[in-house]
């Protein structure tokens, strides 16, 4: 067992967990932050993407102990004062989701893209979202959502 202390969505949390606890498990089971989804569980689908110290990573392939002391942002941490984050609003507006399973990871990944590149091209958006798989939309509206968000962020 190891004590893991993180700042999750601006709030300091500390839990004693088995050493092999994944960050995705820590968030979902220990903190009840179930917005972070687990899809493939083999680090291909990207449903589990969260930010660690501002960078997007796959939480299902990262140990909670490995990110000790880090700042973690999950999908629950994006909306402020009941107002959707511009990326969430853009996904809603352009209908960038259907079943919604991949959406938390898709949104977190896309937010990271716009942090590094303000006005990405369609091609750059598609390349960046390579690690996020969506079975419903065919991606067109997701790309449209990221472009829409780019005008607001």
């Amino acid at each position: 067992m190891t004590k893991v202390t993180l700042e999750v969505n601006g709030k300091k949390v500390s839990k004693e967990v088995p050493d092999h606890t994944l960050l995705s498990v820590f968030l979902r089971d220990n903190l009840n932050l179930t917005g972070t989804h687990v899809g493939c569980d083999t680090s291909q689908c990207g449903a589990c993407v969260v930010h660690v110290n501002g960078k997007s990573i796959k939480s299902c392939s990262t140990l909670a102990t490995d990110v000790e002391g880090s700042k973690v942002t999950t999908i629950e941490g994006l909306a402020k004062n009941g107002k959707l984050h511009p990326m969430q609003a853009a996904f809603k507006k352009t209908h960038g989701l259907q079943c919604g399973y991949c959406t938390p990871g898709m949104v977190m990944s896309a937010v990271d893209l716009l942090q590094t590149k303000k006005n990405p091209s369609d091609q750059e958006i598609r390349e960046w979202l390579e690690g996020n798989i969506c079975r419903c939309t065919g991606y067109q509206n997701i790309v449209a959502a990221v472009k829409e968000a780019a005008t607001k962020m």
Binding site: T2, T42, S43, S56, E68, G131
Partner: protein, 261 residues
């Protein structure tokens, strides 16, 4: 995933002291953790090396670029120093896996795992890399010994990879559309005296195509290798690509790399 004891030592000495026949070093964990989750590997001790400061960073000297073992792919891809000294290496790092894998995965982890389809081993071979470990220095052509096998002994830790700066170089990859691993990847490097064509993804382990390298060493042009047959014997054949298809890709991507230089 089976339970294990997690350790995060602060220096190489402590890390190697903790190592045993039932331990693993953990860097980015992009292969180690999925392997443990799938039950393909289990360890008593997992030794996280990311807190060892001297293992991370990029140094360029006159003739070489040295990249610390825990340096992430995203860092190599974005490095101005690497882009200036060996742009092909920055390009290679920027196309490994996906953005999230590049934010975690490391060069030391990639070469220690020696996946037959990994990108970095081809750069090591073509750029006459020297692998610095906790015990010794190993030339790349002696380091990669077989499928998922390296010359590393139990408890030996990769500390850095030192690449020779070439006159010109390029990396061409035909990625698997799902995993982005190389179905084949060709790292071409033109040094002062000779040319190296290193191939990954085609066989059970990265290798130098001696025939293509020899031809291009005497005449560095597409026409020098036009019509040259790359033999498919010993090449991987799977649901993604037959051996014959891979052989054709090696030829095609070598030409693309020459054109890009």
């Amino acid at each position: 995933m089976k339970s294990f004891n997690y350790h995060a030592p602060k220096d190489v000495k402590d890390a190697t002291k903790l190592a045993s026949s039932s331990s693993a070093f953990l860097a980015g964990g992009m292969t180690t953790i999925p392997s443990m989750k799938l039950g393909l590997a289990s360890y008593k001790d997992v030794i996280d090396i990311k807190n060892i400061k001297k293992l991370s960073g990029i140094k360029v000297s006159g003739k070489t670029v040295t990249i610390g073992a825990t340096t992430k792919h995203a860092e190599v891809a974005a490095s101005k120093d690497v882009k200036k000294a060996i742009p092909a290496l920055a390009k290679l790092a920027g196309n490994i896996g996906d953005a999230q894998v590049r934010n975690r995965g490391t060069i030391g982890g990639s070469i220690s795992n020696n996946d037959p389809s990994a990108c970095y081993p081809s750069a090591c071979m073509a750029l006459n890399a020297v692998i610095h470990t906790s015990k010794r220095k190993i030339d790349a052509d002696k380091f990669f010994t077989g499928m998922f096998e390296t010359a590393l002994k139990s408890g030996e830790l990769v500390e850095a990879v030192e690449f020779e700066i070439p006159e010109k170089a390029d990396y061409q990859k035909h990625p698997n559309p799902a995993s982005r691993y190389a179905i084949i990847g060709v790292f071409l490097a033109k040094h002062k005296k000779d040319v190296n064509v290193a191939v990954t993804g085609a066989k059970s382990c990265v290798y130098i195509d001696k025939d293509l390298s020899k031809k291009l060493s005497s005449n560095f042009s597409v026409s020098a290798i036009e019509g040259m047959e790359v033999k498919s014997s010993g090449m991987n054949s799977d649901m993604h690509a037959s051996a014959e298809y891979r052989a054709n890709l090696v030829s095609l991507y070598t030409k693309k790399a020459v054109e890009a230089c």
